[in-house]
Symmetry: C2
Subunit: 205 residues, 2 copies
């Protein structure tokens, strides 16, 4: 179908089929974000909140901290990652389409929090960054197939409540365009199953 | 009471009283995080998840983005904020105890997301950073009176589900030590009420 008709086609077929797109080798259900308002106002559709598609990249992430006194020691690497990591050459060489590059640096009342994938982590001196439970790796669930609107409500709740019910710990990081959840590496299979189930049958979740 | 006895005192009095601490002029309920395990294993207490105390600082935040091509134009300011903003002198002069300094810079697949308070925002050139709905300001709810453990589950869900039920949009930012929610400035009163109600009567939430 034509690119411009895709959303209408999906919203039509959605009634009858479960629609998936392949993301990094995993089938992820896709739902239309662009259903005209008229459709959503009719009957049962109106009370179902939009279930956002998710993307589960292959790379592994770590959540780390750093003694603020040692910040000068990583300054060069940090500046390198922040300002010089977007060259197309590096992108093509080091990461496939099934990875999401995500690097976050937060300064909160004097303490430092970092989120990065294992590839970025290797650029930093190993002895300065620490995790709380050593070596724990996290997988990302990015919520939304296209940038989320500012007025969307309950996007994180759609994921956080089922994860809490399943006793799975998670980090949530909302950014300008997307919401992200980080879940423990060992839970990613059950999280993927849960999300696929939720997207097949939103009413049951 | 002595500082070291505070948690025991709170856990004892909690049975009979609602305990508040004043945070930035607003009364925020406080619950003990250090209840000995023995207490939590008895009867009804065991099935109640810990309801984490919250802190609601007075400062206002913005969630912004930036054209990656203009990143060099803010590089000096960014380096200044990241590496030189922790001097005690500035802390004392510019922020009271009822503010939480929070600055976050994220680089995600080539796009940039920034979260900062309005004070930090004033350091940046006004024409380069943009918000999605212009001028929207957010208030922070920091979850946890002391750093949260890695193994805690459902912390964000405790807040995100009631906010979603009330149709309040929010950003969630988990860091190494705390979870944070950003809610629209105009909703902070109803969010505060909701959180206080939740903490008075966890079973009803």
């Amino acid at each position: 179908v034509k690119e411009k008709d895709l959303s209408v086609v999906i919203s039509t077929l959605e009634e009858e089929f479960n629609i998936y797109k392949e993301v990094g080798g995993e089938s992820v259900p896709i739902h239309c974000q662009d259903v005209p308002n008229g459709l959503q106002k009719n009957g049962k559709e109106a009370i179902q909140p939009t279930v956002h598609p998710v993307v589960i990249p292959k790379n592994q992430f770590c959540v780390m901290s750093l003694d603020p006194d040692t910040l000068p020691s990583i300054a060069t690497t940090l500046i390198d990652v922040l300002f010089y990591s977007n060259s197309p050459k590096e992108d093509a060489a080091n990461q496939g389409l099934d990875c999401i590059k995500f690097f976050s640096f937060s300064l909160i009342d004097g303490y430092i929090s970092l989120v990065m994938d294992t590839e970025a982590q290797r650029q930093f001196p190993a002895d300065l960054l620490f995790t709380s439970s050593s070596g724990e790796l996290w997988r990302m669930v990015r919520i939304g197939g296209q940038p989320l609107g500012f007025d969307e409500c309950g996007i994180v709740a759609q994921i956080s409540q089922p994860l809490a019910d399943s006793d799975i710990s998670a980090y949530y990081i909302s950014t300008f365009s997307f919401d992200h959840a980080l879940v423990p590496e060992e839970d990613i299979v059950s999280v993927t199953d849960m999300l696929q189930h939720q997207r097949k049958d939103p009413a049951a979740s």
